[in-house]
């Protein structure tokens, strides 16, 4: 079985759910004997490979590699790095910011006379807005669809859908689109019509849609009016990595309990509900510290609100955490809270579990469908969230039970489970 996959760069280069999911899934698919040809959007300002061969249509430079320096790509049979600046968390506004950054990077490269740099100014090739860039990226689908040998096409999230469709058009091979998040998850009610249109177009053109939860499946049916028969739910897995050792004796806030929020500080992740709950908790239980780890467009608003609620002493912001700091944050915590307003899957609770940290998640998350040993609350039910925080901090029995059972759970939800399902979908589609 050969797959042409339009995916995303693996961690640590790309942190966040999509890169992690692409990595975990492809690795186990390769173990099952699936040959993966991976197409990855890659910023030129990150690329330093001397052995790459450039192919591709006009205005799109692509490097093709069959041998990798990076360990995490070893299971991929061929990689096509496409020079584009799209990334999975992008919207129209952030695209503009990236464009500016790329221009700066390009200028630097030319000054350094990097061995890789071409004679032309690459930044000039990028689309003038996100959609023209997505369209430009999609032309790689046509090129590879004609040139490469594969049995099935697999595209992850909307930015790659058009490329997948192009590949299907020229190859006549089945297209599977994998929905990790919809525009409704990312933007709430501020849905971008253009993104919605591309998502729906991908869903209509696809031969099969993979959704990361029933929540996501329902969203695809209700908001995109897609036949539920075409959609299959495949839950994400979790990578079987051991916890980083951490000496809890040495943690700060001695004598105080620590409650962690970790994620982008954006409306979707519900940081404001976390804050309101903290306020209630502190009225009843003063020896608690609340840590908000991550960055995002609501950070400033959160800081101001905390100041006005006079909670600054009990509230800590860490900013964006690198992978090591992230592990440490989980290890230090007494409780992890994910109060997301909308979360197609939500992988962070699984990270908290590695450290035996008890968990409260919102019912509006896909992972709530498979996570049994956690408290689940509606994101808006601040009192219930606060009560849950107090109960879990005051009472060890619940945390013990969660820890014990979640350890078992982690062993059962490796990426081999979704990989098996995906491989079966590949065979169904090609037979």
């Amino acid at each position: 079985m050969k797959v042409l996959m339009f995916g995303w760069e693996f961690p640590p280069l790309l942190s966040g759910g999509l890169g992690t999911a692409c990595y975990g899934l492809t690795k186990e698919l390769a173990n099952l004997g699936v040959e993966i040809k991976m197409v990855l959007p890659k910023n030129m300002d990150q690329s330093h490979h001397s052995h790459l061969k450039l192919i591709g249509p006009q205005s799109l430079s692509v490097s093709e590699q069959e041998e990798f320096e990076e360990e995490q790509y070893e299971h991929i049979s061929k990689r096509f790095m496409v020079d584009t600046i799209i990334n999975p968390y992008m919207n129209e506004d952030t695209y503009e910011e990236y464009m500016e950054r790329v221009a700066v990077a390009e200028k630097k490269r030319r000054e350094k006379k990097d061995s890789l740099s071409l004679d032309m100014d690459l930044s000039g090739n990028y689309g003038h807005n996100l959609f023209s860039e997505v369209l430009r990226f999609s032309s790689i689908g046509k090129v590879l669809g004609e040139k490469e040998d594969f049995d099935v096409i697999h595209a992850h999230d909307w930015l790659t859908f058009l490329a997948g469709i192009e590949a299907k058009r020229v190859s006549n091979k089945p297209l599977i689109i994998h929905v990790h998040a919809t525009e409704y998850d990312r933007s709430g009610d501020n849905v971008s019509q253009e993104i919605y249109d591309i998502e729906r177009y991908g869903m209509l053109e696809a031969d099969k849609i993979v959704a990361v939860s029933h929540r996501t499946k329902n969203m695809i049916v209700e908001k995109y009016h897609i036949d539920p028969e075409k959609i299959e739910v495949v839950y994400n897995g979790v990578e079987q990595v051991t916890a980083v050792p951490y000496n809890r004796e040495r943690r700060p806030f001695k004598g105080d309990k620590m409650v962690l929020f970790l994620g982008r500080i954006t409306h979707q992740k519900g940081p404001h509900y976390f804050l309101d709950a903290a306020n209630l908790v502190l009225k009843k239980m003063p020896n608690v510290r609340f840590v908000m780890a991550g960055a995002g467009d609501m950070t400033r608003q959160m800081i101001e609100k905390i100041a006005s609620m006079k909670l600054a002493e009990r509230f800590h912001f860490t900013g964006f955490l690198n992978p090591t700091e992230r592990e440490k944050a989980f290890a230090m915590s007494d409780l992890y809270v994910m109060p997301s307003v909308s979360e197609p899957f939500g992988i962070t609770p699984l990270e908290a579990m590695k450290y035996n940290v008890p968990i409260i998640i919102s019912k509006q998350s896909g992972i709530a469908e498979i996570l049994h040993h956690a408290l689940k609350v509606d994101f808006w039910d601040v009192e219930k969230l606060a009560a849950g925080i107090i109960s879990l901090l005051e009472d060890k029995a619940m945390g013990e039970s969660m820890g014990r059972n979640n350890k078992k759970f982690l062993n059962e939800v490796g990426w081999h489970v979704p990989a098996e399902q995906i491989r079966r979908i590949y065979s169904d589609m090609t037979n």
Partner: protein
């Protein structure tokens, strides 16, 4: 000599705790229960199961006369709630007693696990149940069954000392040690008592498998089931079938044919030509059949869970802590609490709430009779702990 089928039905309703009773409620209010939910459930179960089944029992008695009598186990709580929300059931029970169609079986008033934690509380609850039966029906029970058939030698001794004549238990391998459940025994530790053991396999065919479409014997007809019973009765004189009454009409709906099945089964038994068949209650079974040996059972057994032990109610950190905390309040409450507060505490003691805190429910092969009104064992645990904390606080403040 005629052959006997000893059939006994369990009836129980726990109080429905208020799922919103969180830590902020402690010291604030005493809305421990959700009466609306209780009312709806009691009315529904009465309509779908209790009333049609009790009527069926009455009609069968009218037809079969002395050849028909069954056992009914009913908790004090269930009686209390039925009096309030479905008095027709109480009237039916009364009329069935009058025509000698049923034997009522004693147990703890609150369907509690008290025997595991406090013999004093256990005896008080058995006494409360006895008083309730006396008051409602002027009835004195001879047979005892502990909550969910939880049983061991030690319990047998206690029940013997309380003056009961017959005790019921699950026919576990632990108790039977290769012997047949289709007989009357004496507990090794309590030789004056008679012990009847559930034929788990035949009982489970109805309770767990009757409507399981993936079961190789599906659909189970009365003819087929009668043949299985007959195979046993050819070798033995007695079969004990202990069932939750809710199996008939509630867990398995009338539309799935379970109530009709009961009728047809009785009819099959009366068509039998090889031997005469009597439907008997536990005390009658113990009278009619001579004990065929003694049974020793040191560890606790029950009719729940894959291993028929205590693992539905104890063993995980939540359940153990909940159980310890519950009974740690006993002395304080008996000393200081008023009647209402004591009753609130005892309502939490119902085994159901410890069952809801069971974390095994997510495992494969889980007992499909399991039902919990709580979203997770953690919710169940928190609500119970919070209610108990409030009860404790109030008792400490002299029952206010």
């Amino acid at each position: 000599m005629s052959k006997s089928i000893n059939l006994y039905f369990q009836m129980h309703q726990p109080c429905r705790l208020n799922g919103d009773y969180n830590v902020f409620c402690i010291g604030n209010h005493q809305d421990y229960e959700n009466e609306d939910v209780l009312l709806q459930i009691v009315k529904k179960v009465a309509r779908r199961s209790y009333i049609p089944m009790l009527k069926k029992i009455g009609a069968t008695k009218d037809k079969l006369g002395k050849n028909f009598k069954v056992g009914i186990g009913i908790t004090g709580l269930a009686l209390e709630f039925l009096e309030k929300y479905s008095p027709e059931v109480i009237k039916l029970l009364d009329s069935l007693l009058k025509k000698d169609a049923i034997e009522i079986i004693a147990e703890t008033y609150y369907h509690s696990l008290a025997f595991l934690k406090s013999e004093k509380e256990f005896e008080e609850q058995v006494e409360l149940q006895a008083k309730k039966l006396k008051k409602l029906f002027n009835y004195e029970a001879k047979t005892f069954r502990n909550t969910d058939l939880i049983y061991n030698d030690h319990l047998a001794q206690k029940i013997e000392s309380l003056g009961y004549e017959v005790i019921l238990a699950e026919g576990t391998d632990m108790a039977l040690q290769g012997k047949t459940p289709n007989a009357v025994y004496r507990p090794d530790a309590a030789p004056r008592l008679k012990l009847l053991l559930n034929n788990s396999s035949l009982a489970d065919d109805l309770a767990l498998r009757f409507n399981a479409k993936d079961w190789s014997e599906y659909p189970l007809t009365a003819e087929k089931y009668w043949n299985w019973i007959k195979l046993s009765l050819q070798k033995h004189d007695l079969i004990n079938l202990f069932l939750d009454m809710e199996t008939f009409g509630e867990h398995i709906s009338e539309e799935e044919g379970i109530i009709d099945f009961f009728d047809k089964l009785v009819a099959e038994s009366q068509k039998e030509t090889e031997f005469e068949v009597r439907w008997v209650s536990p005390a009658l079974a113990a009278d009619l059949h001579y004990p065929s040996g003694s049974v020793k059972c040191v560890p606790f057994t029950s009719w729940r869970g894959q291993n028929r032990d205590l693992s539905m109610w104890i063993g995980n950190p939540l359940q153990d802590k909940l159980l310890d905390f519950s009974y740690s309040l006993e002395n304080l409450l008996k000393e200081k609490a008023n009647k209402k507060l004591l009753d609130s505490w005892r309502k939490v003691l119902s085994s159901d709430h410890y069952h809801y805190a069971c974390t095994k429910r997510f495992e494969r092969g889980w007992d499909r009779r399991f039902f919990s009104p709580f979203e997770s064992p953690y919710e169940a645990y928190m609500v119970c702990i919070n209610i108990l904390s409030d009860i404790k606080e109030r008792a400490e403040n002299n029952g206010r």
